[in-house]
Amino acid sequence: MLRITGLSLLLGALALIAGLTLFFSPPGDTESPAPVINVNSADTRIFWGTATTVDDELQLQLNAAGNGVIRLATKRIDARAYPFLHLAIEESAHKPQVSISWITSGKPADVHTYVPHSKSWSSLWLATNEIPEWTGNIGFVRLNVVGQAGETVRIRDFGIYPASPARQLKAIFSDLAGYVPWNRAAMNSHTGVTPVASFYPSMLTVALLALSLLVYSVLLLVFRSRVTFSWHVVALIFLACWIILDLFWQNRLLRQVADTYHTFSGKNVEEKLTVGPDAELYKFVAQVKPLAQRPETRIFVSSSDRYRGQRSAYYLYPLNIYWLVPDSEFPPDDLLHSGDLIVLINPTPMRFNEERQTLATSPVNRLDAELLLNDRIGTVVRLK
């Protein structure tokens, strides 16, 4: 039973690979493939930062502003001839930001920038035909790195490549093994893909499952004298497909755990919040809290940005908070009290007039107030 299950899965996987490379290969001239253009090409230029080559690895030292730019090609090339882009950067503790930019024809030329969704840069293969702006004649393909001043970023490869079955499979694997950190939408849905991925992992797994079951049926027909149908084989094939799909998810979880560990480990509660995604809001709120003279002081929190307003309100609890949902009306004057705090988180349409000591809550409404705090994140006033 195990043998026929394994054989079905193996042949199913081969059939899937063959199907993907034969019927879903990206457009491109495979008869006379274009030459590879990468960091080792002759006309590669370093614009910002300095580079040295050590053992086939480009070591890019960022400039004093923390920038480094590598430009691949100056001449115009047909985007369709380069359906794959490869980026291979050694992991570093500082986690620099990376983006890829290029220009397309037009007067003036249009500049496009793509920030890789996946943070798995050890060997990231991108199917460029999934990037909508990778079209027509392109040029000046650049890798932009932003990090700490003087930091050395080790680049094993950055290049654009013509079509080949191996590269297509590598791009699919990159999609499957890619890592995207948690985001706000994670609680609602897990698509399993980035916006530039070629295939949904569940679809690929279902294709593997279907092909493996097809192979099993063929094997049953071919070896009908020796092999009889068993639901257990079907169940094992299904289980194997589930595990394969799940291993990619497990890999992503482990990458996330490593990332989370790097960000939060060894820190106490306060320190965690000051390095988390709401660090600047939390630091601002920490200044606001002492301004509430009594625990029962009422605090109204307002912002045009739903996320920033709500998060600030949350960090202000256990004080008595009233968060004004964006586009909701400010409470009428008769329901406001002297001593109430109004916390305005930028961006906000409300303005405090320092000269007149009034807060404009709408184009026609003014409240007498005193300014308590004003910085880049927001403003705090107390009603008189």
């Binding site: 609602n188 499952l209 589930w242 008595n320 968060w323 009290h337």
Partner: protein, 512 residues
């Protein structure tokens, strides 16, 4: 020193719900039977997690300040009482290794697969545990209307009332607090309060450990109840792995703070116990089902819909199909009649006054809020975009791995299996069918179509149903593999200890 203190109090805070539910359940579950250990500690932990907040509510109603000592004393007393009862009724027999015996009987290849799947589950739990342990509260709704309450209640050592914005303004904020959904149930925030009280600090990471505990308990309960249903150890473990590996379920543990995981666990717990009660007529399973079903509305408002799905299932279980159809049809007609005759804005309210404030419970369906949207705002018309969203969420995205395809394959086979869906698993089919009907109605015929097309509510409500659906799929798969096809068979292969007593006979004997 402080770290040691926190570890001890954390361990105590996590152990108390486990012991509270586990020991009490152990008294009533027969001493022998496959999967007993997993069932007792899995279901027991879930009950314990639901019970601790109710104890806190009771203490608060008696004006006793919510402190770790007061709650732990009450819970500890109940644990001690359970221990005393167990000692007098033969504790040793209850903790003998039924699981070990069923495992020992397996062939080597099955043992290897069992261990492999268990290892994958342990790896998953470790990964999620580290996330919970390290990351401060992150998800949106958690900071909008769950942890806001927890933060205030922890600070004031009492369940200070939360009212809606308008009422808060009218009262001048005196003695009341407000957030976006002031009327959401207290169970989940009280779990965060419980953990914070144990640590004597507001810790937005460690207060979420009950989510990990709930996830582990759901897995254990799922395995245990599958074993009770007569499913073999390997298939039970495989489906437990399926359940615990679903990405969206995992995310709700890693980014703890939402109530959907608890509601999914409670509803699945109720379904499993209900099915096994219907199969074995063991009273403790009926009590278990009742406890879980009644706890659904205590977790999230929409839990009341899942609780109501047991009414038609119960009717079909207690009466013959012909008799059962009559009240079901009458009930449906009555609902239609009420809908046509009653004014759409009718609300039945129950007011309970305490602590100088009034808590108002709205009993009419229009008052229900699901994922922050009031049902009385709904206009009933077909939303095609909702259908696209549902299909993508279940069969295209990786929310549930391959569960959607498993259901597509197994449900038709279940229909083809003589007697499976309409007899052996009838009560599950009715309850889940009603729940899925409500799910589809919500996303296809109300404004919630947007929540499906934008992939917001559909995944979260899916969490509440997915464990139950997977349980039905596991039973059907087991049936298929046991029968060797869709041919007729004599029925479920329940282990001897769980075989049904005739209806009306005493509950299963407790072996001392």
């Amino acid at each position: 020193m402080e770290a040691v203190h926190i570890i001890i109090t954390l361990a105590t805070a996590l152990a108390l719900p486990v012991l509270l539910g586990g020991l009490w359940l152990s008294i009533f579950v027969p001493a022998q039977g496959a999967g007993r250990t997993a069932l007792v500690w899995g279901c027991g932990t879930l009950i314990g997690l639901l019970l601790i907040p109710q104890l806190m509510l009771a203490l608060d109603a008696l004006d006793i300040p919510l402190t770790f000592r007061s709650i732990a004393s009450l819970a500890g007393a109940l644990v001690a009482l359970a221990l005393v009862v167990l000692l007098f009724t033969g504790a040793r027999a209850r903790f003998s290794g039924a699981l070990a015996k069923s495992y020992a009987d397996l062939p080597a290849s099955h043992k290897a697969l069992f261990i492999f799947l268990l290892s994958l589950i342990i790896l998953r739990m470790s990964s999620l545990g580290l996330e919970v342990f390290l990351r401060p509260l992150y998800p949106w709704d958690a900071t909008m209307h769950w942890a806001t309450k927890a933060r205030v209640w922890y600070e004031y050592n009492s369940i200070a009332p939360f009212v809606d914005n308008a009422q808060w303004l009218e009262l001048g904020g005196k003695g009341v607090f407000t957030d976006v959904h002031a009327n959401y149930p207290a169970t989940v925030p009280l779990l965060q309060v419980w953990m914070s009280l144990a640590m004597a600090q507001w810790n937005p990471s460690l207060m979420n450990l009950p989510w990990l505990l709930c996830f582990m308990a759901l897995g254990a309960a799922f395995y245990g109840q599958l074993r009770v249903s007569g499913v073999g150890p390997v298939i039970s473990m495989a489906f437990t792995y399926f359940l615990l590996s679903m990405p969206l379920l995992n995310i709700h543990v890693a980014l703890a703070g939402y109530a959907d995981l608890f509601l999914g666990a409670a509803y699945c717990g109720a379904l499993m116990a209900f099915h096994n009660w219907a199969s074995t007529r063991q009273r403790w399973q009926a009590v278990l089902a009742l406890v879980f079903a009644l706890s659904c509305p205590l977790i999230k408002n929409e839990g009341v819909i899942w609780s109501l799905t047991f009414i038609p299932a119960l009717i079909f279980t207690l009466f013959s199909r012909g008799d059962a159809a009559k009240p079901y049809v009458l009930f449906a007609l009555l609902l239609v009649l009420l809908w046509l005759l009653l004014p759409p804005d009718l609300q039945i309210t129950v007011q309970i006054a305490a602590h100088g404030t009034t808590t108002q419970w709205l009993l009419a369906p229009p008052a229900l809020e699901i994922a922050g949207h009031a049902l009385n705002d709904m206009i009933f018309e077909f939303h095609a975009e909702g259908l696209v969203g549902i299909v993508q969420s279940i069969w295209l995205h990786d929310n549930w791995h391959l569960m959607g395809y498993l259901l597509l394959a197994v449900l038709p086979l279940g229909i083809l299996m003589p007697g499976a869906l309409v007899r052996t698993y009838l009560e599950l089919t009715i309850a889940l069918g009603t729940a899925v009907g409500a799910f589809l109605f919500l996303f296809l015929f109300t404004g919630f179509g947007v929540a499906a097309s934008e992939f917001t509510g559909v995944g979260r409500i899916g969490i509440q149903l997915a464990p139950g659906l997977l349980y039905l799929a596991a039973l059907l798969c087991s049936e298929l593999l046991t029968r060797g096809g869709v041919r007729a068979t004599s029925g479920t292969s329940l282990p001897a200890a769980w075989r049904p007593a005739p209806f009306g006979a005493p509950a299963a004997t407790i072996t001392n």
